[in-house]
């Protein structure tokens, strides 16, 4: 259950968040909790994830209650609201934000779980009220498992500077490359595209490190990611006037862009182009490859569930870690390239994964060329009361029991030297 109220200026910020997320996906989750209201979304290729968390104090009024369900182990488990909304329904409501800001006195959003509806009401002057009833789809929210605090490189920048850089690129530009040295920052057209299109202009912008609020580069790095999502994030950052933090490691590892205001916290995780080898792949062969891979996984899954019993995977809570040994980082990298997930039915308790299944998760070397963007770790949003958003490794991941998620395939792997267990959804 959710009930919240905002003023006109707050609606503008909320609307900017919706607009930013619409660049990532056609649908998003409405996920209220004790920490506030989160809007989450992930794109269809699982290469981009966005989450905007509005603190309870952001709203004039915020009321939330969790559904309590008795689990089989007779433990109280708090479940999140399973509320997925289509962007096509929501986006038009928050289109003319400047007009909304000026004209509405109050906006009220609440859920009616009995009818699977979210109600959005705008209260205008002169007693005029506009009500939108939007049906939602029951779906467990996803959360990306990625700890930005262990990234080697960290930047903090004013949105205005990034906006200046973005103007350089044409709207047809699909990917941009971010290159850093300890003294310099460079944003440029992706080299891959300029090779393909002989008439494309290659642009780049160098900025000195002294223009940043924070500039920490552990190693020279060049990462390439989608441009569309970056523009969406900037749209949102203009509304908050807060600096943007950028966290990244090396090609193939995700890039995180964060905005941390007192009232609003936003995190966008983007996949980056993997190693040099994969840049040669064409988008079409990539799609075909992914399609084939998914078909294989579905077949495997069907084979293992001859009895028709649903596959369930449960994992123990992972201990939070700020720093990981080099060995662990290597494992993380290996897991990101999971191609053949180890699938095993779990009856109640978590059982150990055999060593042979660990080797099964390694990618066939030849198929590395076909992977363009590494997938990221995803799991259900934890119901843990003590969850810290900045440490998603705290989360207890739970697969969704909705029909749509049945098509997701879970793989699991145990890291040597660590008691943490992670899920990867392909």
């Amino acid at each position: 259950m959710l009930k919240c109220v905002m003023s006109g200026s707050q609606v503008k910020v909320f609307g900017k968040a919706v607009q930013a997320l619409s660049r990532i996906s056609d649908e998003f989750w409405l996920d209220p909790s004790k920490k506030g209201l989160a809007l989450r979304c992930v794109n269809s290729s699982r290469s981009a994830y966005g989450c905007v968390l509005f603190s309870p104090v952001f709203f004039q009024h915020y009321q939330w209650s969790a559904l309590v369900k008795m689990s089989e182990n007779e433990l109280d488990t708090t479940l999140h609201l399973k509320c997925k909304l289509g962007m096509k329904s929501i986006l038009p409501i928050f289109r003319c934000l400047n007009s909304l800001e000026r004209n509405i006195e109050k906006c009220r959003i609440f859920t009616r779980s009995d009818k699977c509806k979210v109600v959005i009401q705008f209260f205008y002057r002169h007693g005029i009220k506009r009500t939108h009833n939007i049906c939602f789809q029951e779906s467990q929210p996803l959360q990306v498992i990625f700890d930005k605090n262990v990234c080697t490189n960290t930047l903090m920048i004013q949105p205005r500077l990034l906006a200046d850089a973005i103007v350089l690129f044409t709207s047809s530009q699909e990917e941009v490359t971010l290159a850093v040295t300890p003294l310099n920052f460079c944003l440029k057209s992706s080299n891959e595209e300029s090779m393909d299109l002989s008439n494309a202009v290659h642009s780049e912008m160098f900025v000195g490190s002294d223009e940043f609020d924070f500039f920490q580069i552990g190693m020279d790095t060049e990462i390439t990611f989608c441009f569309k999502e970056l523009k969406g994030i900037l749209t949102f950052s203009e509304a908050t006037h807060a600096p943007i933090s950028i966290y990244f490691d090396f090609p193939g590892k995700p890039l995180a862009l964060s905005i941390d205001d007192m009232l609003v916290e936003a995190n966008f995780i983007l996949a980056t182009l993997a190693d040099e080898q994969s840049r040669a792949s064409s988008p079409q062969s990539l799609c075909l490859s992914q399609k084939r891979k998914r078909s294989d996984l579905i077949e495997k899954k069907a084979g293992k569930n001859v009895t028709g019993q649903a596959l369930e995977c449960i994992s123990k809570k992972a201990a939070p870690r700020r720093l990981y040994p080099k060995e662990t980082l290597t494992n993380i990298s290996a897991l990101e390239n999971c191609g053949s997930p180890a699938m095993k039915r779990v009856d109640g308790d978590v059982s150990e994964v055999s060593e042979s299944s660990v080797s099964n998760t390694e990618e066939v070397p030849g198929s590395l060329c076909l992977r363009k963007f590494s997938c990221m770790f995803f799991g259900a949003v934890s119901s843990d009361q003590q969850e810290h958003f900045n440490h998603p490794f705290d989360s207890l991941a739970r697969a969704s029991d909705s029909e749509e998620d049945m098509n997701n395939v879970c793989c699991r792997k145990e890291f040597n030297g660590s008691d943490a267990k992670y899920f990867c959804i392909i």
Binding site: L168, S194, N199, A200, V201, E204, V207, G208, D210, E211
Partner: protein, 280 residues
């Protein structure tokens, strides 16, 4: 071949940007001719351009603080480059409020015109923006098609009205027909005429004046009120008018009866000739 130029003056940079913007509106692809004294933007009258041709000329010393070039040889000390005008225009647009602009002929993976912009910033260091614009170097044997067009003796030469007014009229006429008749006489009168089966619309401009030389030489031979006319595609005229952001110092229209319209514009430091052939 070498080419390297630099603009540090803000006013010159803005002016050069406006010219590039105008060219981008007039021609999708054009030739940039670089010679020791001049820059030319050229559109030759290929069928692909619908017979339209253009010749735009800039004196380089009015724009560039530094200008160094070496052509293909000492005898042919020129460089001809084909490029997409929009690319250059967009690159220069990022140079607003710049401290300096550099243009250079480079070869990175492919031949490029590299535009470097040094932007002001809040801190001590500058922001450097670089655009590598793909170009094609035009070989010597094709240069003959890219020379300055020969201007035929016009039947009527007349000064144009304010281009913005003219554009406004032509835009409305386009809603009626794609064919337009432009006619003028030596009595300072110019008419824009649309004729269809249903309606005939004519806009009259009066007291425009004729260049002294032209009227003087032909005055005794014919009736000054006699109209010379050309039947043209209205879209080509609109494309020409759309490119004119600022009213030029001098704007002249030369009509060769039933053959072509020749526009001769002079802005400060820039001359532009635009040829629209008659519809057959």
């Amino acid at each position: 071949m070498k080419f390297r130029a630099k603009i540090v003056d803000g006013a010159c940079l803005n002016h050069f940007t406006r010219i590039s913007n105008m060219i981008a509106k007039l021609a999708k692809t054009c030739t940039l001719r670089i010679s020791p004294d001049k820059l030319n933007f050229i559109l030759c009258d290929k069928l692909a351009n619908g017979g339209v041709s253009m010749w735009c000329e800039l004196e380089q010393e009015n724009f560039f603080n530094e200008f160094q070039m070496e052509g293909v040889s000492a005898e042919n000390n020129e460089i001809y480059l084909e490029l997409t005008s929009e690319n250059l225009s967009r690159a220069l647009k990022t140079a607003q409020n710049a401290r300096a602009l550099k243009i250079k002929l480079t070869n990175k993976h492919f031949p490029c015109l590299t535009v470097s912009v040094e932007l002001l910033s809040m801190s001590s260091s500058s922001r450097i923006v670089t655009h590598d614009i793909p170009i094609k170097v035009i070989p010597r044997k094709l240069w003959k098609d890219l020379q300055e067009p020969v201007v035929p003796d016009p039947d009527v030469s007349i000064y144009l009205p304010v281009l913005k007014t003219m554009k406004s009229v032509v835009e409305k006429m386009k809603n009626i027909s794609n064919h337009l008749v432009i006619e003028a006489n030596l009595d300072g009168e110019l008419n824009l005429k649309i004729e269809t089966e249903l309606v005939c619309v004519t806009t009259h401009f009066k007291d425009l004046g004729n260049p002294p030389l032209a009227s003087e030489s032909t005055h005794e031979d014919r009736n000054v009120e006699h109209m010379a006319e050309v039947h043209i595609d209205i879209r080509k005229l609109l494309q020409f008018l759309a490119g004119q952001q600022v009213n030029p110092t001098k704007a002249l229209c030369n009509i060769v009866n039933n053959k072509m319209v020749h526009f001769d514009l002079l802005h400060e430091d820039v001359s532009l000739q635009y040829f629209i052939p008659a519809l057959s």
